[in-house]
């Protein structure tokens, strides 16, 4: 499971950065999206995977008696997902607005006001 996740995270980061380096705005956005997902999975992986041991104290004791899954990475990922959802939806709307304003998907066309050096 760990190995699978490691490979998956690597693929997500790699494709994310590759797509960001392309000239298309849509690919830039998809790249950012994949990078965000990669980061979330990385938190999940580095929080030490523990199978089938929810962090719930059994009713007959006061403390944890055996090893349990760390709940913090899940809460971190949840927060990160919510935040990235907000950012990404903003970015999508922004892309649409920019596309309507410039009529182009090419990032190199975004320098019309940069001509004065």
């Amino acid at each position: 499971m760990e190995l699978l996740l490691v490979v998956l995270i690597g693929i997500l980061y790699g494709t994310g950065i590759y797509l960001m380096l392309r000239r298309s705005m849509v690919k830039l956005l998809i790249g950012l999206l994949l990078l965000g997902n990669g980061a979330n999975l990385l938190i999940f992986l580095l929080g030490d995977l523990t199978k089938g041991k929810p962090p719930v104290i059994p009713p007959d004791s006061n403390i944890f008696t055996e090893i349990y899954a760390d709940p913090i990475p899940q809460s971190l990922i949840l927060t990160a997902i919510v935040i990235s959802f907000g950012l990404q939806s903003f970015a999508i709307i922004l892309l649409k607005k920019v596309y309507l304003a410039t009529g182009s998907d090419n990032l190199d066309d975004l320098n019309t006001h940069d001509l004065d050096i």
Binding site: G38, L45, L76, L87, F90, K97, V98, I117
Partner: protein, 502 residues
């Protein structure tokens, strides 16, 4: 010492923002509420600073969870001073915005977003938890996205793409670094991390994680070679918004860098060398960029980059004197950069352009205003005894002691180029007589304002100039504070003791 008082600045900003959301269409009321709230928050920040100064580091454990488990808010001298200077800028910008931002932008919620942004900034300064810091950063950047695109002009949109993309990338890198650090230590509390990171045997991994944080914060604070988004985006929004960006958003990155690399990752030989070279490159490239630009605000954008180098230099030298200099420079820079963009806004209102060849004749038309602006510009350059001069003494002294002659050369060049571009700007904008054809094209947008509105535009500049003058002439006070902060940076045990209680 347990104290709920320390989150008051951010709670007040949040409450104000929510109240302003209910006053969505009533922009006349919004302006008044926003200015009053900002003045109130300034008073609270002064109180927070004096309390922290007198009684030492204050902490608040949210939800009463004991330190390494819950989210901790910490107010030490560094964070409370940052909150204080942020609040000073907030007051000035909000007064300026009442006239400087057009009605259409206000109708789309300029003021609520403004307060959310400052809530995020104050939160970032006061938190003692790295994931919480990430959340505050996100609040800051999403508010800044909205402010940057507010109004929806084409240049704004184009620059917003670059700004949004780079900031989202910075957040992902920051999050990656948090993930690795959590995997290494199993903790998110800064004080706890400080203890645990020191005990890790695998120093290579620690250095890599540290550099990941450096890249994440470096993009936000615009250091070489990660600054390219800044000069191509900061000149597009209205001046009041650019003032927030130029004065505060890069500085919160610097704050995070100073906090992380003095508390959690104590720089070793390798990291210090990296910082030192990055500082040199930032100083030189920023300075060279500023020489080339003929648009006032673009030139200021490059000067922001250039002066970030001084603060990174302090971190690269990593002695108490250098850190005190870096912190002093940070305080000076917040005030003076905010002021600079407000000044550029007034110039734009008078002349209707930002391009230096088309500007001119300011001194003939507005001699008193020009003299006011001269003080701002001289503070920026650091002509003694104005505010930019004093931190440089510390930085030069520290680099002589550390025998880092390359850094000294870079700092001298950067200071000299700043002087040169400001002198060039002074002759172009103020002394040169205005080109005739531009005079005819654009009517003076400042002269037609009502006297009360003129006052609202000029008062913030006067106010910030007074603060700048105080930093310059009362440099001893600021230096005492900076030295105190630097000593807390070198010896972090009071911070750790205050948070963890052991």
């Amino acid at each position: 010492m347990m104290n709920n008082f320390i989150i008051l600045p951010l709670l007040l900003h949040m409450t104000t923002a929510v109240v302003l959301l209910f006053l969505w269409k009533r922009i006349a009321v919004q302006r008044i509420v926003s200015v009053i709230a900002n003045v109130l928050i300034l008073l609270v920040s002064i109180l927070l600073f004096t309390k922290t100064w007198q009684s030492g580091i204050m902490t608040m454990q949210s939800g009463n969870w004991p330190a390494p488990f819950g989210i901790t808010f910490v107010s030490d001298v560094f964070s409370s001073t940052m909150v204080l200077f942020t609040s000073i800028s907030a007051v000035a910008i909000s007064i300026y915005s009442t006239i400087g931002i057009n009605r259409a932008r206000m109708k789309y919620g300029f003021f609520p977003i403004y307060h959310f942004l400052f809530m995020g900034l104050n939160g970032a300064f006061l938190t003692g938890d790295i994931f919480n810091l990430y959340v505050w950063f996100e609040i800051v950047i999403i508010s800044s996205f909205v402010l940057m695109t507010l109004g929806g002009k084409k240049p704004q949109m184009e620059s917003a793409i670059k700004y949004v993309a780079m900031n989202m990338l910075a957040s992902v890198i920051f999050l990656t670094a948090i993930a690795i650090l959590y995997g290494l230590t199993g903790s998110l509390n800064m004080a706890d991390l400080s203890v645990k990171v020191a005990k890790i045997d695998n120093r290579g991994l620690v250095n890599v994680t540290g550099l990941l944080f450096f890249i994440g914060f470096g993009i936000k604070s615009a250091v070489f070679p990660l600054y390219y988004w800044l000069p191509s985006s900061y000149h597009t929004p209205p001046s009041a918004i650019a003032a927030i960006f130029g004065g505060l958003l890069t500085k919160v990155g610097i704050y995070a860098l100073l906090r992380f690399f003095t508390l959690i990752f104590i720089p070793g030989e390798f990291t210090m060398t990296v910082f030192s070279y990055v500082a040199v490159a930032t100083l030189i490239t920023g300075a060279l960029g500023a020489i080339v630009k003929r648009d006032v605000r673009r030139m200021f954008s490059y000067l922001i980059v250039c002066h970030i180098g001084f603060m990174i230099a302090g971190l690269g030298l990593f002695t108490e004197i250098a850190l005190a200099g870096a912190v002093f420079y940070l305080f000076h820079d917040i005030i003076v950069k905010t002021n600079l963009f407000l000044v550029s806004g007034i110039i734009y209102r008078i002349k209707g352009t930002m391009r230096m060849p088309q500007l001119g004749g300011m001194y003939a038309e507005y001699p008193r205003l020009s003299l006011l602006m001269a003080i701002v510009l001289f503070s920026l350059v650091g002509i003694p005894p104005l505010s930019g001069f004093w931190p440089k003494i510390n930085l030069f002294l520290a680099s002589f002691m550390e025998r880092d002659y390359l850094l000294i050369a870079a700092m001298i060049i950067a200071s000299f180029v700043t002087l040169y571009v400001i002198a060039k700007m002074w002759t172009e904008v103020f002394w040169k007589s205005a080109p005739k054809e531009v005079e005819l094209l654009h009517a003076d947008g400042f002269a037609i304002l009502k006297p009360s509105n003129k006052f609202l535009l000029v008062f913030p500049v006067v106010f910030l100039t007074m603060v700048s003058l105080y930093i310059g002439f009362g440099a001893e006070h600021i230096m005492i504070i900076s030295k105190h902060i630097a000593s807390e940076m070198m010896d972090t045990s009071p911070y750790i003791h205050a948070v963890l209680g052991k």
